[in-house]
Symmetry: C2
Subunit: 589 residues, 2 copies
């Protein structure tokens, strides 16, 4: 490919409104252009990267035994009503009415459609297990699209769905997808961590997320630097804190006037105490019944943990009226003493000698309250979001928080959809049994964005070899010098014949201008042909990620470049193999 024919509109300036490195660099490198909010055109270079990511995903899905199909984007909303998700998905679901008055949705995901298909086509245990996947454009009415191609209203997703006869089979299908995801991201050259995750509104009972740590990431990943425990902040457990010493001589608590001070921040500022010495009592409706939790004032409740602690199916924050009615106390001044509804205390509270809490009457807080003395601690559980410095649930070491960008997600769905939609198989005896499902998603565009987030420097993108739009750029310095162009074209031809994607920068521009662009678009191997080198019979070769170039004899330039590329590919393959063996070892041990 000639640069002049490839439509690569690089930009010198950082585009206004772009904050995320991937957004800035993909725009500057001429790989994407915005059409509207949350809608981007992939220009030729960007599309090449997207296609490379897609091909790797497809190869690893096929290698894992998943079978590809393609479902429509337009779905009858009836299917969403059948699964019960028409309500829960809410406004994120794009809806339209088509001719004949049919109400349709644009699929943000395809659990309903695949379950509808499989209930029709898969009827016997003999057809199980089966994992089906597609690579397809999804739609989501994001209220605030942002970060370039990271959060858009239309995106390319690989979604896979496994159907199994029993839980053991599901475990094997899940493990096969988990391993395929690891291989996919290894081959893409992405630094990722796999974290325990909440399965969220999609339902189910086990889930892992694949996260690329980067500043743009919208998820928080909690990691233990000691034992490698890692989880999404929503899911991460917090280990036990040492209990506070019981002091018999603690003075009794005191009531303090706190006129109009309803928030932890205001109360603590007013009383001149650290927020970490305060407590906050939160009231929820657990399956409709009011319940309370007591947390340290600077901690955040984790609703999934609270829901599980109360054994509830649905949990929602209580409204002020319900709170007043249930506790008799006004919002902003709630406290644990003589509380009339079931209360569970977060573990961190047990580590506090004394605590500042609400007085259960307007404009009153209590100081010097001793947990366990002034109010009973029937149950102390892990109820809050893990945070920086919290003890690891496995080894107790202080954990750290990193921002993470989700690129993949695997779920064990169980029978949520098969039961709702009547997708059964017959076992050996002819009994109808709901299919056991798993679902597995990869954001293909996010692979592209995550690679840029993780792999760039001050000069531009540094593409991992397997994602690079072109693996090599041949740069003739004097495009009007026939000897230079002939030599450059000969190298290009040699590489192309060997199957290397190569671009020839045929622009009549100064070397520095061309080098800057090639660094910006992140081509791994740069091969420079110039008049001066040709006099000595040499050309120059340089890797994007290295600072030094080397001279190579012109005669063997093509072979030398191929050897360099092969060595790089071999190193990457060896790395992937090592990681694979490490996973196998970790699993079998």
């Amino acid at each position: 490919m000639r640069w002049s024919s490839a439509l690569i509109p690089t930009l010198k300036e950082t585009p206004a409104d772009a904050v995320a490195p991937s957004h800035i660099l993909l725009l500057r490198a001429g790989m994407i252009r915005q059409l509207g909010a949350g809608a981007y055109t992939y220009l030729p270079l960007g599309l090449r990267v997207l296609h490379k990511a897609e091909a790797i995903v497809r190869q690893e899905m096929d290698a894992a035994g998943a079978v590809e199909l393609l479902m429509p984007a337009l779905q009858p909303v009836e299917l969403w009503k059948e699964s019960g998700r028409f309500e829960t998905f809410g406004d994120l679901l794009m809806k339209l009415t088509i001719s004949g008055g049919h109400h349709m949705a644009l699929g943000p995901t395809h659990e309903e459609v695949i379950t509808d298909l499989v209930r029709d086509l898969v009827r016997s245990y003999k057809q199980l297990p089966i994992t089906l996947y597609q690579i397809q454009t999804k739609f989501r009415d994001e209220p605030r699209p942002r970060f370039g191609i990271l959060r858009t209203r239309e995106f390319l997703m690989k979604d896979a769905y496994s159907f199994d006869a029993d839980v053991d089979q599901l475990g094997r299908s899940y493990d096969a997808m988990y391993e395929a995801y690891c291989r996919t991201f290894d081959r893409c050259g992405l630094p990722y961590v796999v974290v325990d995750a909440e399965s969220g509104p999609i339902g189910g009972d086990a889930s892992h997320e694949f996260m690329v740590p980067c500043s743009t990431g919208e998820d928080k990943v909690i990691q233990c630097p000691s034992c490698n425990y890692a989880a999404n902040q929503e899911k991460a457990e917090v280990g036990e804190s040492a209990a506070a010493p019981q002091r018999a001589d603690s003075p009794p608590y005191e009531a303090k006037p706190t006129p109009g001070k309803r928030t932890i921040r205001d109360v603590c500022a007013f009383l001149k105490v650290d927020e970490a010495t305060s407590g906050k009592l939160l009231v929820f409706l657990a399956d409709g019944k009011p319940v309370a939790v007591l947390l340290r004032g600077d901690h955040e409740a984790n609703e999934a943990k609270v829901r599980r602690a109360f054994g509830a199916a649905v949990l929602a924050p209580a409204d002020p009226d319900s709170i007043q009615k249930a506790t008799g106390a006004p919002m902003g001044f709630l406290g644990p003493i003589a509380i009339k509804i079931p209360m569970i205390v977060d573990r961190a509270v047990t580590a506090m000698e004394t605590i500042v809490v609400g007085g259960n009457e307007v404009d009153v807080h209590l100081t010097g309250v001793v947990p366990g003395r002034d109010f009973p601690i029937d149950r102390a559980l892990d109820l809050r979001n893990a945070d920086e410095g919290d003890p690891c649930p496995r080894c107790g070491a202080a954990m750290v928080v990193k921002a993470g960008l989700e690129i993949g997600h695997v779920f064990k769905l169980g029978t949520k959809y098969s039961k709702a939609m009547g997708a059964n198989y017959q076992d050996e005896k002819g009994t109808e049994i709901p299919l056991i499902m798993g679902c597995y998603g990869i954001g293909v565009n996010r692979i592209v964005a995550a690679a840029v987030e993780a792999c760039h420097d001050a000069n531009g993108i540094v593409w991992p070899l397997n994602l690079a739009p072109y693996q090599a750029a041949v740069v003739p310095l004097q495009v009007n010098n026939k000897a230079v162009m002939d030599a450059a074209e000969e190298i290009e031809r040699r590489l192309t014949e060997a199957g290397v994607d190569v671009i020839l920068d045929d622009r009549d521009q100064r070397p520095g201008f061309k080098f800057k662009d090639i660094d910006l678009i992140g081509i791994p191997l740069r091969i420079v042909v110039g008049e001066r080198g040709l006099k000595d019979g040499t050309i120059e070769m340089k890797w994007r990620h290295e600072s030094e170039s080397k001279n190579v004899p012109l005669e063997t330039a093509g072979d030398a470049a191929l050897a360099e590329l092969k060595a790089a590919r071999d190193r990457l393959a060896a790395d992937c193999q090592v990681r694979r063996e490490q996973r196998a070892g970790a699993k079998s041990s």
Copy 2:
């Protein structure tokens, strides 16, 4: 791939409601399943075919120098208003409102989006010519989806757009796409004809359609068996007919009462004359002004021809009120005698000695009217749709009509979009000049359907080699016999290693059952391994399109199969090359 893992739900029965061969066979072969009206899931086999067609299209686009990008499906309707097509596209355009109250369309085509992109990125003559393309899912709110995947609301399309500095450059860009289309369809093994076409509401001034003749085709193709002239019925010209002899002794015309007879059929039945001896006068509004055309009663007016005959930009049938006002005559009884508005006569009328026409008053028709005597023939032009038996415009031979299925379409758009949307380039002198555009579409799904329409027999699909989901099927007859399975797997392995897509039918079923399925899904080469053959050291090989099988030594079975496949590929490549040379010869001569 093992058959048992591939999800191939073949059907014995012809599905209800399916009429078109491609619809019936793709359903029966387990390649597609309907989700809703105009929405189909591509099951694994069907998707493999779709991907093969897509890959051929992409390769030929790349080879022709077109550059791939990918635009969003969701488009702001503002762009459609800017081009003026928001109105003209009407209800076919799917519309929805997304968060923030933005009005969006789901792209049925991308002239607006690409013009918006290019007006931003292409500013200089130095960047021209450039042809951009994408392979992308399109949406169209078809009021009556039908024929399976032939007319759906969501489909995969390759759409390309050329941008040129002048008409000569456009000619070369257009020719390159035309040739790429021929190569694409040749490689797909489709029997197609290229026809002159109306450019239709999309605009522009030259257009060709690529049609596959088949009974399901919704277009009518007019062909001359003598000189190979071919055109869409809408566009086809009709040659001159011999003028009727002028007879001096014709009696004067007579007025006949025709009470309540307003249609040609009713009038001719009532008067007991052949419709081919009658005339019909039609009134149109040409740029708002009433005009008339006189056609033979059994002919259909071609509005594009009428529009051009009157030099109008817009033509529409006149309503009864306008007709009465313009002619003073009631609808149903209009005639050419003493007509007060401009009238053009279709050429066929000049070949009629006498003609039955309306009397310009209620319940009256005239018989024995002599064209040229009783009313003047100022202009006799080609104004009607060509039909079976009409004279060829080039050689005068009688033309034939065939049903055709459109698989591709190339247009010269000119400056319709660039002028409407302000997409200019600067020439050498810095003058702003509107870009000259062409657009080029291939329905990728239609390649699949057209191949089935053109290539099937009573037993099922007979896939062209390059589109077949698998090129070879290996069929072990006794799947529980280890020697049989080992031999079958060895052949499968050999073929797979050589890059052949092969499926192994591992189902524990009777041979006839398996053979029927393999014929139905249309796998080109069948390789059968059975106990009996193994005793003699042979396996059986059979092409789908041949009736005889042949025995091959087991030892060299893999090589023999590869040699057969290579020979078939070579034959196809040679055929493609011959056609290419024929086209080059026809062009240069």
